[in-house]
Symmetry: C2
Subunit: 112 residues, 2 copies
Amino acid sequence: MPSCIFCKIISDEAPADILYRDERVTAFRDIHPIASTHILIVPNKHIVSVNEVTPEDETLLGYLFTIAKEIAKQENVAESGYKLIVNTGPDAGQVVFHLHMHLIGGRRIRTR
Amino acid sequence: MPSCIFCKIISDEAPADILYRDERVTAFRDIHPIASTHILIVPNKHIVSVNEVTPEDETLLGYLFTIAKEIAKQENVAESGYKLIVNTGPDAGQVVFHLHMHLIGGRRIRTR
């Protein structure tokens, strides 16, 4: 999707602090972190939101957990704990309409 | 796991307000809801947490999103929005050590 910022990051047309990348998933730091570890794990496929998920996406979405587990280890939050959050729609505050999983752990950052 | 409350709910040995059940996943209302819609979507397989996920679990975990999408529609929060949250470990407040996805949407409930 040419207008999607996450598609641009995935294809290296926009900058990001990339932590992991393969042919299915890209992970990078959130530019507005709410905790010392705040990473976005994004399927390279442009899926708008959970509302648009189809059964053929299940293996890809399950793979997000495998990557989350590995990144949590690398970030030293696997034992202390972390939240994986996927927001859908306005009440959840979804701002980029390319499905993504937040990995949030470590020290909470007071942003406001 | 005989001592696991979610395994007991899945096998009908403990009560719950079940919304969905099949051979892979069980969904029921959280007994301490923090919003008007607060549902737990639980793989029937006893996986302790995301830290214990293996690649063979990916299809099962991806399937949680398909069930979440359907339940969000049934609960009339698909368009207004909802959060899917998987908590791991103490910092995230994981209290039941059987991996589960929270589906949270609708009006926020003030519990304290």
